[in-house]
Amino acid sequence: MKKIFTAVKMFGLLLCLIIFKPSAIAQTDIDGILMQKNFFCVGPTVSKSSWKNYWEGTYKRDNANLGTVSATTAAIMGNYGINDKLNVLFGLPYISTRANAGNLKGQKGLQDLSFWVKWVAKEKMIGKGNLKAILLGGYSNPVTNYYIDLMPTAIGLHSKTGSLRVMADYEMGDWFATISGTYMLRSNVTLDRNTYYTTEMHYTNEVKMPDASDVNFRIGYRSSTWIVEGIVDKFSTLGGFDITKNNMPFVSNNMDATKLALHVKYDTDFVNGLSFVADANTTIAGRNVGQSTSFGGGVFYIFDLSKKKKKEDTKDKH
């Protein structure tokens, strides 16, 4: 019963491991494209993820006392271009969870506010294509005192995270591939109880969270109007313990998830700066997480905040 849901990042890819990684903003913390200077892209997203089966350690099972556990997320996300090579992004999701069987109450609330700084460190023509090396730094912080003692329905892990992501993006004509690796530092979290058992007894309300890593590969078509990409993402905690048989899940479990995802973005012709995104992902392997499948979509609008308001086509900024 893992929390599988959380911060569904929409834009770019839900794919990401959403789950325990609240830091994910979407559109751009994980892709190789940037906003132009003084442009601000912002918009709402919604998504729904659900799972019926989950991995208890490596054992895959269902649970008639939970049925299907779902998380519905509404988020606001934004991306501002400080300049053409440096962007700042943010995201804030509201999440509501529910189990459709049994007697566990669903939880809901604002989850974690996340920020990313995205910087193109190097850009170079290689062959016929353009290679970009991008560095990102991220930080997320819970904005409410949401409940984490009962994992299957918790909306997040309530850990502050600091992330460093290294990314390479190669673009040739309208085709591209992006690969990135992320290291996530995760702060300790605090329970509502003063003792707990992991693989041993602890007399404290504080739980040490294992750090986590994420590897993301995406490949597809990218033009000024359409982005269509397929994505593979693997999230792993670096440590943590397995749920033992029929035991409760816990915030500091070892959680791994490998997901396949599809992301589509369409920049409209009829309103300058308006775009739509759609995402889908599914979990193909995991450990101590739900086997979630998620669908979502969003609408974004790009504002030109430059003082000298030239009315230019914002589309190829992106």
């Binding site: 007697n103 109450k105 939880q107 300790n188 007894m201 409760m248």
Partner: protein, 517 residues
């Protein structure tokens, strides 16, 4: 420009990294308990009233060798050799065990309870397997250390430790052999010096009794228990507190006394507490015959009720007739009554409007799957107070025995009530009601948490009168927490508390007459 931003990113990352690594260290509440250093050494504990022993000297303990004998000198050398080669890890062991034998073995049991407090997973056909003590490492692992099982385990541990201490102190006075640091001034003492004779060792008698009880209750964890016992013995030698013969004599005595408790445990009817399908059905038909809606398991697949015949287990503080006539409360509001309807609506409203603070209270006291259970929670509360009070080992054992006998008897009385009335849970009667904390799989009336808490707060208020009001407040909060969790009606909680208070008062009465006041 680029460089500036690079620096910003690097600095940010370094800040986050350093912030993170520092804040990840956790100071646990039991790590720095002070070394045991009794205000009163309770040298007369050999005269206290035992629970099962016919007399303090029922089990023999041979006279010790003289401190002038060559063998004793060799034993002193063993201590010195340890002390000359002490490692950091060994110093940690000395500090850990120095906090007290009764305390640490109580913690070890809490840990094993938490490890084993997991309900078995169902069979493919929807039935549930029963753990077997004869095959503890096969799935389902033995035991399922649920609250009644745990209450009984804590009680046997504390009771055996208590009688073992009485025998130990009796022989200490009888033989009056000096401690190694008194015999030889060159022995260092890494812990406060005890003013008691050191033969037999009180630590060893507690560990001998504890090992046996723990292995009875957690037969799959023998290696873990052995390892703890070895560390404990070593810590006493390294600390210069005991020579090898103090330890050996104490451990043997403790084990022999534990055997008497194990015999009691094998005959206390707990082995039959799971019941049979016929018995489970009988509860249902009995409730229906009274015109009441019977309890049904809300789990899927439906799980048989948790240890329904725990009500028949042999108690410590009163007999079964007293339990039925003086302790079992009157019936809950009838499931067809207006009051029952109102109490159900009350729970629906509470859970619907639950505040974050109420949810935290429900969670704090929940003590559900994967925890040391409510009796374990009250042991932790007791230990947290006792460490401040500089009790002797014998007094630690006596106080925890009073507490844990009351908790086990509270479990028996509570289970007796639950299965006598077989009353449903709120969510069985109103499916709109959901819980934040998990629903226990047994009838509602009376609340187990309330019964445990009523008993524990009564006993602890007797032992630590200055804190009596705080213990009462805790018990009230623990009781209320079950309504916040939407798993109990108000009647379950109110009557559970008063029933627990009654059980606790039997332990207090015993305390008045056990010779330790």
């Amino acid at each position: 420009m680029k460089k500036i931003f690079a620096y910003i990113i690097v600095i940010t990352v370094i800040t986050v990294v350093s912030f993170n690594s520092c804040s990840k260290k956790i100071q646990e509440a039991n790590a720095d308990y002070p070394a045991i250093n009794p205000t009163r050494n309770d040298a007369n504990a050999g005269t206290w009233k035992p629970l099962l022993l016919a007399s303090a000297g029922e089990f023999p303990c041979a006279a010790p060798i003289a401190t002038s004998s060559p063998d004793y000198v060799l034993q002193l050398s063993e201590i010195k050799s340890f002390q000359n080669n002490i490692t950091g890890g060994e110093q940690e062991l000395v500090k850990y065990w120095g906090a007290g034998a009764v305390l640490r073995w109580n913690e070890i049991m809490r840990e094993l309870v938490a490890k084993h407090n997991v309900p078995p997973y169902q069979n493919p056909d929807g039935t549930y397997p029963l753990p077997s003590a004869n095959n503890p490492l096969a799935y389902p692992l033995f035991p399922f250390a649920n609250p009644p099982y745990a209450a009984r385990a804590y009680a046997y541990l504390s009771a055996a430790q208590y009688d073992a201490c009485i025998a130990c102190y009796y022989y200490k006075s009888l033989y009056n052999r000096a401690a190694p640091f008194t015999v030889d001034g060159t022995i260092q003492t890494l812990l406060p010096k005890s003013t008691l004779p050191s033969y037999p060792s009180e630590d060893a008698v507690v560990l001998g009794a504890s090992e046996e009880i723990l292995k009875l209750m957690f037969p799959g964890d023998q290696d873990f228990i052995d390892q703890k016992a070895d560390e404990h013995k070593k810590a006493r030698l390294i600390a210069g507190m005991n020579v090898r013969s103090d330890i050996d004599a104490g451990e043997s005595l403790g084990r022999a006394i534990a055997a008497k408790f194990i015999t009691r445990a094998r005959g206390d009817r707990a082995g039959a507490a799971a019941g049979t399908q016929t018995q489970w059905t009988q509860f249902e038909t009995d409730a229906m015959a009274k015109g009441e809606v019977p309890w049904y398991s809300q789990e899927s697949p439906r799980r048989p009720p948790m240890l329904p015949l725990f009500s028949k287990v042999k108690t410590w503080l009163f007999d079964s007739l007293t339990m039925v006539t003086s302790i079992r409360p009157g019936p809950p509001p009838s499931t067809t009554s207006a009051q029952f309807k109102n109490e159900t609506e009350e729970i629906y409203q509470i859970q619907k409007n639950l505040t974050r603070e109420q949810k935290a209270i429900a969670t704090f006291w929940s003590d559900g799957v994967g925890t040391y259970t409510p009796p374990g929670h009250w042991n932790y509360i007791a230990a947290s107070e006792f460490v401040k009070l500089n009790f002797s080992e014998a007094r630690w054992a006596r106080n925890l025995a009073l507490l844990n006998m009351s908790l086990m008897d509270a479990a028996v009385a509570c289970w007796d009530t639950k299965f006598y009335y077989f009353n449903p849970r709120p969510m069985q009667m109103d499916t709109r009601i959901k819980t934040d904390i998990g629903l226990p799989n047994f009838p509602a009336y009376i609340s187990g948490h309330s019964t445990f808490s009523g008993a524990a707060s009564t006993v602890l208020g007797y032992i630590v009168p200055d804190k009596a009001q705080q213990f009462t407040d805790m018990a009230n909060e623990a009781s209320l927490s079950r309504m916040y969790g939407a798993i109990h009606f108000r009647s379950d909680c109110v009557v559970g508390l008063t029933t627990g208070n009654k059980v606790g008062s039997y332990a207090v009465s015993r305390g008045h007459t056990d010779g330790a006041e």
